[in-house]
């Protein structure tokens, strides 16, 4: 029986509602397929009834294989049948069921993005760019929020397995090695962005934090700064710690010590708090490298409004990420730019690379310093 385009259930006088009250068995049976008839009650839409390839085949007068082949690039179909199939599909509003296709091809087209606090400017930008790039690569992004603390990265990767994702991209947290291995063994590909992990198999993208730290130190020195400080969170992510270590090491090369303050999360308020402790100290720093732009903003506001300091005259600041707000006139922050485009491109390229080929393991990207107004030119 050919199902037509508009699908309404014809159930006179509210019979549909009573379906809910009777046993689950009957509901289940009734749910399956309902033939079309003219609706004389209330134009109630039928719950769940996508049009299938069978419907299209019937309407076009061909076999179901023909329909499948029409929508499979490179398959053998004559131009004539393709036309007829397309026409019928159009009329019926047919869309290939990717779930079923994924089942057959064992390739769902789904890529999971695992991320927490995704409303953070840098993360949001990354997610946006990733989804876009994935889409143009013919994949689709599934977003898994790991805001909850209870081992949720592991739970996220489990979700990833449930949906037979082709790959997972981790922007936050670090999963248990056992789970990672499980994913890898299931044929999933894993990309780790800015998280360090010694497990073999995932593609790791990292920034050259040490180099950036060195650049920061020399920029401060050229500006005549002598009392360096480093504002960090106590999140302790490897990349954040790498910046800290790198900064301390680079400063040491010039015989300078660094005052390190760690507080809270990598957010505005933490920067604000750090300003409090940093500028009430006896030897006030004249240069601060903030692990993060958000913290830099907090620090700047603290310095300006709580201590009346002028930036960059009294105080030079460098941030990291180059989020949009950094270019706003109120901040005009000199900061290291996350190479979001490169990160995204190399991730997706790796996902599409041949699995059996000698696989690249990691990428090390450079974060250039964007000069604005928070470091003075000369002493």
């Amino acid at each position: 029986m050919c199902k037509s385009f508009t699908r309404y259930v014809s159930l006179s006088s509210g019979l549909l509602r009573s379906f809910n009250k009777i046993s689950g068995l009957v509901v289940a049976v009734a749910r399956k397929r309902v033939q079309d008839t003219v609706n004389n009650y209330g134009f109630m839409q039928l719950n769940k009834s996508f049009v299938s390839a069978d419907d299209v085949a019937k309407r076009a007068g061909v076999s179901r294989s023909a329909v499948s082949r029409t929508f499979t690039p490179g398959a053998s179909v004559s131009e004539e049948t393709r036309q007829r199939v397309m026409e019928a599909a159009q009329a019926l509003g047919y869309h290939v069921n990717q779930l079923a296709r994924g089942l057959m091809r064992s390739e769902s087209g789904i890529v999971c993005l695992v991320v927490s606090e995704m409303d953070t400017p840098y993360r949001a930008r990354l997610v946006r760019a990733l989804t876009h790039e994935l889409q143009t690569a013919g994949k689709i992004a599934m977003l898994i929020n790991t805001d909850r603390s209870d081992g949720s990265v592991d739970a996220a990767l489990r979700q990833t397995l449930h949906y037979r994702a082709d790959a997972s991209i981790l922007l936050s947290g670090l999963p248990d090695k056992a789970i990672t291995r499980l994913c890898l063994n299931s044929g999933q590909r894993i990309v780790l962005i800015n998280r360090d992990d010694d497990i073999d198999g995932p593609f790791r993208i990292n920034l050259d934090d040490g180099q950036a730290a060195r650049v920061a130190v020399s920029a401060f020195l050229r500006a005549g700064c002598r009392h360096l400080a480093f504002a960090n969170s106590d999140v302790g992510t490897p990349s954040l710690m790498a910046r800290e270590r790198g900064f301390i090491a680079a400063a040491a090369e010039f015989g300078l010590e660094v005052t390190v303050v760690r507080h809270g999360n990598t957010v505005y308020e933490s920067g604000r708090k750090i300003a409090q402790t940093l500028f009430t100290e006896p030897k006030r720093p004249d240069a601060v490298f903030c692990v993060n732009d958000l913290m830099a903003f907090g620090l700047m506001d603290g310095a300006r409004y709580d201590f009346g300091l002028n930036i960059p005259e009294d105080l030079c600041i460098v941030g990291f990420d180059d989020i949009e707000q950094s270019s706003w006139t109120s901040y005009n922050l000199t900061t290291f730019s996350q190479p979001v485009d490169e990160i995204v491109k190399s991730s997706v390229a790796w996902l599409q690379s041949d699995a059996t080929a000698g696989r690249v393991r990691s990428a090390n990207l450079h974060a250039p310093l964007i000069w604005r107004k928070t470091i003075r030119n000369k002493l």
Copy 2:
């Protein structure tokens, strides 16, 4: 043949690589199932080989149905078999294939979020909150980026159909009615957040923009402002236009005219630009309602740094959205708060509501004014 826990392919001396070169047919056959053997070459992972319910059943010595029932809440399984199944599943790393389950249940558990420019603070917050809420409701979010201009909202909804999403939530753009209807007819539920549409079927969430505009006017009046202006983008989204109309109307009630400036997108730079045109005019406004916090920031920076105006002494400003940056000391923006939590809760609640019940059509939410420092207390 029972597949064991660790799955490595044993192919001595690089045979695997040569697979690529031979005909597609052989590859396809080889891809299917490969028996386990000890790997004596290089620990190459087998591409794509999730463990299935069959494997678990075999290991646990029960039927496949038993496995299925173990993972189906409310199904009838004895405690003993459940134990054995769980144990086997654990050992094998089994995860129910949601794609296949969705195929049977015709309920994928997928909810699509259709959004453009998702790195905008307000949108990012909404996406974060939505994904979180959906996850706790047992759904999973699929993110569809509609940044490209070419009718991409329609394309997005097509994707939605491809993946048999249970529902779509539109945060950006507005789809063609035909597509919307197609989705609805396929049994999909649609939520429109802050986009107006006269089509019947979707759940529409809107803010009371008119009321907010009235509040803004009276706040300005109480502060002694007399020259009101409205800073808008020329995006022309219904909700943005509603704010504009509401503001003009409310001002008119007090016999005041409003200078309206529209420019570009709803971003910082546009606010900056608008400041240029607004403050070079002969009769400079002393109060500006910005359609958006981002534009408000741009306007504030323009007013302060290009024109040396003091806020709120010379100029009062109100924004809309209450994004995180609004509370930063540099801005301290008095603004209307998007009730993100309410939006999210009501959306997800509606998605879970009974389809056959008398369905609610829309929600009208209130955006309260958050008082900070950009409106002076008294004249």
